[in-house]
Subunit: 203 residues, 2 copies
DNA sequence: GTCTTGATTGAATGATCAATCAAGTCATAT
DNA sequence: ATATGACTTGATTGATCATTCAATCAAGAC
């Protein structure tokens, strides 16, 4: 089985969906950039929607290797890992003049009536992302107030990332991203000092 | 001049762009729902893009009357006004089974290469929104730490709203919105208690 | 009364779209 | 050798898209 073609289609579609969105990317766009003919594409994928499914599965399965590992290399402090992850998005914004955002967030807002498979894959991508952040918060458990809902805080950090990228992209100004992340950092700082003020737990 | 038709086109387009997005709304969609014929639409608007411009101008000019006034009626406390505004989005989510989000955020992420006029109108909508929040923060100045960057905090509140709506829509679960807003409320609470702990300013 | 201007009608155009399919290639199994 | 089945080719289809335009209408100005 030749899955080179399938992979080339998915990688190309991934690029294009990120650049132009799902709706604005035509099958013809994918074919010409990937140097694949329409029959081959439809041999591997029943339709355009299934290409999107394949791309979302790639993202879902690649988060560890392609997102976390590069950004966390050399960063040990769990809280700093969170900001290292956010810094990855900052670098994307810089290298694209604030035009590219989060590929998942883009698609999530673009597709208004997703079929269940697509919706679940978008949700799975969000869940994997915030679970990774949650693990960082768990590792920093003793620096946070005892009643901290770490899962909710991780979702919130995803929220801030998505909103910050949205604004930086809309204004075409990195400052909007930076100020938002600074606010988040201040929030986490307040939580840490609140934790320090708590009486030590009984052993 | 008969601008009834123009208005009907814009109101219909506003609805449709919100329901299905800009790209997925065809001119034919607008024509059939608004009971207008193509020639009339093109009499008032050079093209589809200009309909979008008209819609974004309506949003920009209507924020006071259609967004702030309804949500702030009977709410005097400036901080509570912020959460009353956010509650407006919560109600939209409830009444649409978590399918509709922020119309501006949707378009901002959908349009990848906006022409300058569209990009500036999106930015203007964001700016008007966060300025309204900033005015609330200004009114609550004495309850916040003295070094608070209220403009940045207002941008951050917009960020949290957009991210929270995105997640609730993606998961089709209101809880994601609620937990995010609860986190924001906790953050503002921490700021208020930090302000209370500050020494009184010299007069 | 006729001229002018703004507004409306709706069929037509050409581009682009996702998807199809019959004919072909090629490696491997028998 | 030949048969099989995975894969490729690329022209083609029919739907849908934004847009155009000549014709028509309504109503105030001269």
């Amino acid at each position: 089985m030749n899955s080179d073609t399938r992979t080339r289609i998915l990688m190309t579609a991934m690029e294009l969906f990120w650049e132009k969105g799902f709706g604005s990317t035509s099958i013809a766009d994918i074919l010409s950039r990937s140097q694949v003919h329409s029959g081959s594409l439809y041999h591997f994928f029943p339709g355009k929607q299934d290409v999107l499914v394949g791309v979302l599965e790639l993202y879902r399965d690649g988060i560890e290797e392609w997102l976390l590992k590069p950004n966390w290399d050399g960063v040990d402090d769990p809280i700093e890992r969170i900001f290292a992850l956010l810094n990855g998005y900052r670098i994307q914004l810089i290298t694209t003049d604030c035009t590219y955002g989060c590929p998942i967030g883009n698609i999530a807002l673009e597709i208004h009536e997703p079929d269940p498979q697509v919706r679940e894959l978008l949700a799975a991508n969000f869940t994997n992302w915030s679970r990774a952040v949650e693990r960082c918060l768990d590792a920093a458990e003793d620096r946070l107030p005892r009643d901290t809902d770490r899962a909710a805080l991780a979702e919130y950090i995803l929220t801030v990332m998505e909103g910050a990228v949205m604004q930086a992209r809309t204004y075409r100004e990195l400052g909007y991203f930076d100020r938002n992340i600074a606010m988040l950092r201040e929030h986490l700082g307040l939580l840490e000092s609140k934790a320090r003020a708590e009486p030590v737990a009984a052993v």
